[in-house]
């Protein structure tokens, strides 16, 4: 079982591990793909610079699935982390083993949130634009967000504070004033109200459903009202996100052509074969599927029917959230349909992450902040991280 793609020898007290979607000068970055095996970036990601500046040491690179679009890392080109047939997430294992204060990674398709939920950890996917994406391997730029996973809400918040802030090198980076809001100390306004989403595309199994009701009960015990709300248009988020993510992915990975860097086939007679064979040999099946799917969505024939429609659904979902936040302080949702994934699950359906993301896609597509605690997602309006952390801390207190 391979947790690290690189590991530094360090005895530092404040070790942070980053996942293999984050570019580092000191260590190679493969993004889980044979295409980038051994690739060494010429520059550090902005969050690496910020972590160094705040006195943290980078303890290594946690393995990820190919371009981080799978469930929890099972599509890594050099093998999945599996124990007893159960899929393990490298970042979560590193944290549980106490080898790092936190893991900072790129949440493309919800893998960070699913891993935190399934391993009883805390994670935060901050408001889109509050943490620079400079130096992250690009996949689905319109929604992917640098996220933090740790044992406690306090550790998550501490690392988020170190990496958040405006960055001129990222055109989508928000102003310093906006970013400062997610760093402020949080409290829960009384009387607080939370909506629990029911009727998602996939029905959670008994264990996952129990997590959700336990979390709701905990909130109620703390004087927060909990109301069940039907998912409504949120059920379209997965389909729309699959289109947007695949289209952007198709475009972003088209730069890996076997010419400038990365994997190059030995089997070619001309440039077309060089392109085709390099990509055929290096990319895995889930990635190839996403490339074809995204390419089709962007074709001039399908653009309006498919891609543009997905963009419009993104606005509909944002409006639906705005309506929810007019009434509720936070929205509670499962993070996954079951609390463990097995090898058999992926063998039965190799595209399972494109269905399982029905829980994570609503926040991915809208860029809203999410804190995972107690095995569930709490989604807030933009910059609501402090309040979401405060709710996670209620859960932590109850747990003790």
């Amino acid at each position: 079982m391979k947790l690290y793609t690189s590991k530094a020898e360090t005895a530092a007290a404040s070790v942070v591990v980053v996942d293999d979607m984050i570019l580092t000068k000191e260590m190679p970055t493969a993004a889980g793909s044979k295409m980038l095996e051994g690739y060494r970036s010429l520059f550090d990601a902005e969050m690496i610079t910020r972590l160094h500046a705040a006195g943290y040491e980078i303890g290594g690179k946690a393995a990820v699935g190919e371009f981080a679009i799978d469930l929890v890392g099972e599509t890594a080109y050099d093998g999945a982390c599996v124990a007893d047939g159960i899929l393990r997430n490298a970042a979560a294992e590193i944290i549980k083993a106490g080898e790092a204060k936190a893991v900072v990674g790129l949440d493309v398709n919800g893998s960070v949130r699913r891993a935190a939920a399934q391993n009883g950890l805390i994670s935060v996917k901050p408001t889109y634009g509050t943490v620079s994406r400079y130096g992250t391997v690009p996949v689905a730029c319109s929604g992917e967000t640098v996220s933090v996973m740790a044992k406690t809400a306090a550790d998550c918040r501490e690392i988020l504070e170190a990496i958040a802030g405006h960055d001129d090198k990222d055109g989508t980076s928000l102003s310093e004033e906006c970013c400062a809001q997610i760093k402020s100390g949080g409290s829960i306004a009384k009387p607080a109200k939370v909506a629990v989403i029911t009727g998602c595309n996939l029905t959670p199994d008994a264990e996952a459903a129990a997590k959700l009701s336990a979390f709701g009960a905990m909130l109620e015990q703390n004087g927060i009202s909990v109301t069940a709300v039907d998912a409504g248009v949120l059920t379209t988020a997965s389909a729309a996100w699959n289109i947007l993510m695949s289209a952007e992915l198709c475009n972003n990975v088209s730069r890996y052509d076997g010419i400038k860097y990365g994997y190059r086939t030995e089997n070619f007679e001309n440039i077309d074969e060089l392109y085709t064979n390099s990509r055929t040999e290096a990319f895995g099946v889930l990635l190839k599927t996403a490339i074809l799917y995204g390419s089709d969505a962007l074709s001039s024939e399908n653009y309006m029917k498919v891609y543009d429609k997905a963009l419009r659904i993104r606005r509909v979902i944002a409006d639906a959230f705005a309506a929810l936040f007019a009434q509720y302080d936070a929205v509670l949702m499962p993070a996954c349909s079951k609390m463990v994934y097995t090898e058999a699950d992926v063998q039965a359906d190799r595209y399972i992450s494109f269905a399982e993301n029905c829980y994570t896609a609503p926040a991915s597509i809208t860029g809203l902040p999410v804190v995972v605690a107690g095995g569930v997602q709490m989604i807030g309006k933009a910059f609501a991280e402090p309040m979401l952390f405060a709710m996670a801390e209620l859960y932590e207190k109850e747990g003790k």
Binding site: L23, A31, L36, S41, L42, F43, A45, R133, Y134, G135, T136, V137, P138, C141, S142, D168, K169, D170, G171, T172, A247, E248, C250, N251, N252, S254, R255, D257, I259, K260, Y261, I271, Y275, S295, L298, S299, S300, E301, Y303, Y307, L311
Partner: protein, 480 residues
């Protein structure tokens, strides 16, 4: 049957920015291979595009110069295709909301004046360059040009032949250079043009089969290509020599023929979509007003003003308004010396001479117009002789920071008003050349030139020629 040609142009112009469109690499032409590159313009993962505001400034400027409507919210989109000179396998361009739309340009040909409509102007990044001749069977890639900012000016199919096309291109060339949008150098590829051409029976309102021609890098080549392609179309329609198909053709200027490009090079679906990493650029009123205020007078406006307000001749005004650099130099010089005719004269003769001698074009004129004005004053006031003034001017070309008065002083180029010294020089000249004196006295007036030259040389030119001439005649007359 009589036919008419219908032509629309796509003109690419590299913008005159210091740096590239999305990174801080230099956008200058002429560096060694891959010297102006960074991870961003080489398409390495993790770099994000940050729009160079100067590019939008110049895009707006071009739009306003060509009477376009400026889209106050303008967006960037990705265009996907595989080619080894395109490091990301996509080009960032403007597809959905280009910076400027619906403009027009007035041109003048032998048939009179005509308005050519502009469909749109969009901003985009250039691609790199493939180099095929370093090693056999090997192609090298130079990414210096990658992400150099361009605008593409798309006209409506309003042009009817080579003469109109050339007039249109020359007009664009003049307007864009005047507004300092681009240096528009065909030979360096900073101005390029694709020609969309079709032919139809005269009077018909339907368009014929259209072909697009690429790879023409001079006005002559464009004119030749249009004539060739028009003849090819008419021949096909008239004699059925071939069936016309909508295609992209490459112009071979050496052979004087166009060839269909391989389908592979042109076919394909570009899969345009909005670039999620570049936020829409919103042009507020202040920004719009600032660009509007920065627009230059048109060349013909300047020409008219130089004649009516500054009293220049038609010829001088026409010479100066060939180039924005000449106009700027002239106007700066006049602001200091207040002598428009002198300034025009200096630029159109002395400055031009130096430019020619140094094989520089007008746009490379770099001397400070204000210093030129100061020099003109020195000469007009008789403090520096005209010939020495040219020496100062030459020095100003070598070092633009020179103060003409200081330079003249330090290099002994100031006119002497010391008549005692002039007297002594004259006496010596007369005594050394009694023959010239005798010749002059016997009526050979030209003989004085030898004496005059000798004195001037002795005085290093620092003498008012009138004064020297008068004093010399007086001295000769005073000899026995």
């Amino acid at each position: 049957m009589r036919y008419e040609t219908v032509i629309g142009l796509e003109v690419h112009v590299e913008l005159a920015t210091e740096s590239k469109i999305f990174c801080s690499c230099s956008a200058k032409f002429g560096a060694g291979p891959n010297e102006h590159v960074c991870p961003a313009c080489c398409g390495m993962p993790g770099m994000l595009p940050v729009v160079n505001k100067r590019v939008v400034d110049l895009g707006m400027t071009a739009g306003m110069m060509l009477n376009c409507h400026i889209n106050r919210t303008t967006t960037f989109d990705k265009k996907s295709y595989y080619y080894p000179d395109l490091p990301c396998a996509y080009q960032t361009t403007q597809w959905f909301a280009p910076v400027a739309v619906n403009g027009c340009v007035e041109i003048e040909t032998s048939k009179g004046k005509k308005k050519v409509r502009i469909k749109q102007i969009h901003m985009e990044e250039d691609a790199g360059k493939l180099v095929h001749d370093i090693m056999p069977d090997t192609t090298h890639v130079d990414f210096n040009r990658t992400s150099v900012p361009l605008i593409e000016i798309v006209s409506q199919p309003d042009l009817s032949g080579a003469e109109e096309v050339i007039a249109y291109l020359e007009r664009l060339h003049a307007l864009l250079r005047f507004a300092k949008v681009s240096d528009c150098r065909w030979e360096q590829g900073s101005m390029r043009c694709d020609v969309n051409l079709s032919v139809r029976p005269e009077g018909s309102s339907e368009l014929g089969v259209r072909t697009e021609m690429k790879n023409m890098n001079s006005l002559t080549a464009i004119a030749r290509a249009i004539e060739y392609e028009t003849a090819r179309h008419i021949d096909a329609l008239e004699n059925g020599t071939e069936v016309l198909v909508q295609e992209t053709r490459r112009w071979d200027d050496v052979k004087g023929k166009s060839y269909a490009m391989r389908n592979k090079e042109t076919a394909g679906d570009y899969r345009y979509f909005p670039d999620p990493n570049v936020m829409p650029v919103v042009i507020d009123d202040a920004w719009y007003a600032a660009i509007e205020a920065s627009l230059p007078e048109l060349p013909e406006e300047k020409r008219a003003r130089y004649i009516s307000e500054l009293g220049l001749s038609e010829y001088d005004a026409a010479q100066l308004t060939q180039s924005r650099a000449l106009c700027d130099c002239f106007e700066d010089a006049v602001s200091v010396c207040g002598k428009a005719k002198d300034a025009a004269n200096w630029i159109n003769s002395e400055v031009m001479n130096i430019l020619n001698a140094r094989k520089m074009n007008f746009d490379m004129l770099h001397i400070d117009g204000k210093s030129l004005g100061a020099l003109i004053l020195l000469v007009a006031d008789g403090k520096v002789g005209r010939a020495n003034g040219k020496k100062v001017l030459a020095a100003m070309f070598d070092d633009t920071t020179i103060d003409p008065a200081v330079y003249a002083e330090e290099n002994g180029l100031i006119v002497s008003h010391d008549t005692g010294m002039i007297d002594a020089v004259i006496k010596e000249a007369i005594s050394s050349d009694p023959k010239a004196v005798a010749d002059y006295k016997s009526g050979k007036e030209k003989a004085i030139m030898a004496l005059f030259g000798k004195c001037m040389k002795q005085l290093k030119g620092n003498c008012d020629p009138q004064v020297l001439h008068t004093m010399l005649i007086d001295a000769i007359k005073a000899t026995e």
